[in-house]
Subunit: 118 residues, 2 copies
DNA sequence: TAATTACTGAACCATATGGTTCAGTATGTA
DNA sequence: TACATACTGAACCATATGGTTCAGTAATTA
């Protein structure tokens, strides 16, 4: 069976923690792109884009290939399965804590009634 | 209608990009905990734990409350809905790119056949 | 061959991160 | 009142991040 060992979640979550990189993912979702085209799209130097792409690559979210003088970037095959899995499993934990509406309401009060030393 | 405006994804994904913080979330999934108990559990100074908890708090993933001299931490009410939503939407993009097995195989070859200037 | 294009790498900068220690402050207990 | 507990904040440290500029190299094109 073909198995993808995803790079540790540290890398992928860190990669997703930047709006430009999330934008690059969205862009690649519409089709492959060169470093230059991404640089134009995101108003950034080639070097800047290259670094972002490298972060995405280390996280396994993007693959690149250089043909001639052009490096083409596309979404990686491993996808976001591992991240989705981690999050879904924890969502259950969160929900379990909040099956009663009371908790939510008391939290809201807490957030409103400020001036506390909290 | 009660609406939670989640702090930007930047904050929550960054918060999730650290194994200790993911561990704290798991721990709080089993019940509330004080700073001291988390520090014991994760073999870290109180100050260190406090910082991690603050990162989780800024991301809205954890709420804390100080009663007496003890600060109690628990999972935040907003949960991981926004993150799950972002990821699920992108999974479709990734899958759309890889509905053919060919692509996966060609990537695997690429990863194996190294020594290229890639 | 010369000029242009596309990328790359090193160096730099300011700021953030993940951790520590140390010196408090506030609370609870004997 | 004295001591212990639980946290807090400032200061420090090494390393990472997000960006830049500048000086290349390699591939096309004229």
């Amino acid at each position: 069976m073909v198995q993808y060992v995803s790079p540790p979640l540290d890398l992928s979550f860190a990669a997703l923690a930047d709006a430009t990189r999330r934008g690059i993912i969205d862009q690649l979702g519409r089709g492959e792109a060169s470093i230059t085209s991404l640089a134009e799209r995101f108003q950034m130097t080639l070097t800047g884009v290259k670094k972002h792409v490298q972060v995405l690559e280390r996280a396994g979210l993007v693959v690149t290939q250089k043909v001639g003088r052009v490096r083409t970037c596309k979404l990686g095959a491993r996808g976001l399965a591992a991240e989705a899995e981690w999050i879904e499993a924890r969502r259950k934990l969160f929900e379990a804590r909040f099956d009663a509406l009371d908790e939510i309401i008391s939290e809201m009060k807490q957030e409103q009634g400020n001036g506390s030393a909290d």
